[in-house]
Symmetry: C2
Subunit: 323 residues, 2 copies
């Protein structure tokens, strides 16, 4: 990586984005070991789950506790806070702002607000609330590959005058190439010169790491990753690759390998994510992976020729981040 | 990909490089179906094996026929030649030039000579022989990540005045980043302005596709790939990704998916390649994957922490391409 490691901060999303794979069924021991490892690696943020509200969502009963983080519960999991800060993600329309305590009463340091481009104004209102309660904030604009120029310019205007600390470029469908990332980062830098940037990539085309590196080389500061790439469908930029290739590194690889050996290998036997052809196909088509996820849960999971023929006839669209 | 598809030619290496995984144990039906698919996709070259000589190698008995291609046998496999040309790779010190028939008597169109930097003169002598027998030729310089500037400049001088058609940049250990590829391509273009270039990447750091795209965007013409990424250790740039992302494409994805569904999924159940942590570690360290391959063949195959600690204490080196 050309980028100096010094300006970079990593946000490990294993629990939050990985929870979309296993319905947040991580044991407390798993999360505690990950927190210990990330501290030893020197990673700056751990996104420990969603802070959405169960009353605003359907089908919530079976979900693990990392889907609806409870501040008291979190204190029992992490009785002693170390250097790695804690983050939670919220979705527009799924979070009750009254659930977010003032920062002084919570273990969380960072609240990230995920939205689609048409929800930016609503998202910035939430950002203002969380900012006023003392949190660091980010705005994560999803599904950028399908956004038109006019929408984006309007969003930039609102964002530029907001209090948000960091604005994320999110390749929700894993459809972007490094050249796309370069162009997007330049555009964000031009129109949001007073904002720090972040990048969250998906691995449908085996480009999550390359795209994250492209972003970092352009000056993007917050880099999302997850251990062994665990995340919805094709997963994310693998934390271990970022660490392995960080020049003049302040990070240590050993503890990530320990987490992979002890926890991720056994988990990958039970749960599926990564470079899997149906996810490649939705990535290539710039679509939400839901059709591919349904295929992988069916008896036809390996019928990729039929799947491709089906998807290249009609076309699906949109959704929300937790879908 | 920024690069126009028009200047690009793909060399599918599934049989040749994939043979390093399964000791070339591909059935005739497998190879025939692949040849049919590559023709339907519109891929320009199929590297159907090695043309080394069994008398120059040890431990050859169990190897499948694609390790020591026989021209008569090849005619029985491919009785009717179509648009996709056929290629074979040879290694310095392992090929008997008398085994290579004049092109008019062979199904092969392209002979590629693999060598390390110190073997370039010897390799160019072979290139001259094969060129004189009517073949297209390439020179594939392996393990470029460890080559010093002076060696490379001497090699360029010899190559520039040779008859070789295409010079390959080979990331044997899968240790290079897109920025490294950009710099290497520029250097090759500066010093070999009269030669076309090729790229052969390995996937240890999940960068084989990104690096191949980086090369193509810089003007590299011949792109090596293999179906479902099958190749030694971490494997190669997946053919399906190149096809999926080729702009204004002359290629069709469907037949690659058919090959994957019918042949590669079942094969991957029996044989192992791809993003596997020990290969990530050798890639990160810029080493030949042999230590990781040995680990994966042992009872300790998932003991990645011990493996990493062991490799970061002392250091191994070099080897030859078929090792």
């Amino acid at each position: 990586m050309n980028a100096k490691a010094s300006h970079i901060k990593i946000v490990d999303c294993t629990i939050r984005d990985g929870g979309l794979v296993n319905n947040w069924d991580f044991s407390v021991g798993f999360v505690q070991h990950l927190y210990k490892c990330l501290n030893e690696v020197g990673i700056e943020y751990m996104e420990v789950g969603y802070k959405n509200s169960p009353k605003l969502l359907k089908n919530t009963d079976a979900a693990g506790p990392w889907r609806f983080l409870n501040d008291e519960f979190l204190r029992t999991v992490i009785p002693e806070k170390k250097n790695t800060k804690l983050s939670a993600l919220v979705d527009i329309g799924r979070v009750d702002e009254n659930d977010i305590l003032p920062r002084g009463q919570s273990l969380l340091d960072l609240i990230r607000v995920a939205c689609y481009i048409h929800q930016v104004d609503e998202a910035l209102e939430l950002v203002q609330v969380f900012h006023d309660r003392g949190y660091e904030t980010t705005l994560n604009i999803m599904a950028l590959s399908g956004v038109n120029e006019n929408e984006l310019m309007n969003a930039f205007e609102a964002i530029a005058s907001s209090v948000v600390d960091v604005v994320y470029i999110v390749d929700s469908y894993g459809s972007l190439m490094p050249s796309d990332i370069n162009a997007l980062v330049e555009k964000f830098q031009t129109h949001l010169p007073n904002k720090r940037l972040g990048a969250h990539m998906h691995n449908n085309l085996q480009l999550a790491f390359a795209n994250t590196v492209a972003a970092a080389d352009k000056g993007v500061e917050l880099l999302d990753a997850s251990v062994y790439g665990m995340g919805r469908a094709a997963g994310n930029c693998p934390t271990e690759l970022l660490i392995a290739r960080m020049k003049n590194s302040k990070y240590r690889l050993g503890p990530v390998l320990d987490m992979i050996e002890k926890y991720m290998f056994p988990l990958r036997e039970k749960e599926e994510w990564g470079y899997i052809i149906p996810y490649m196909i939705t990535g290539m088509l710039g679509e939400h992976p839901r059709s591919a996820m349904a295929l992988r849960n069916s008896a036809d999971k390996d019928k990729i020729v039929d799947f491709y023929n089906r998807l290249t006839a009609p076309k699906a669209s949109g959704g929300n981040s937790e879908d």
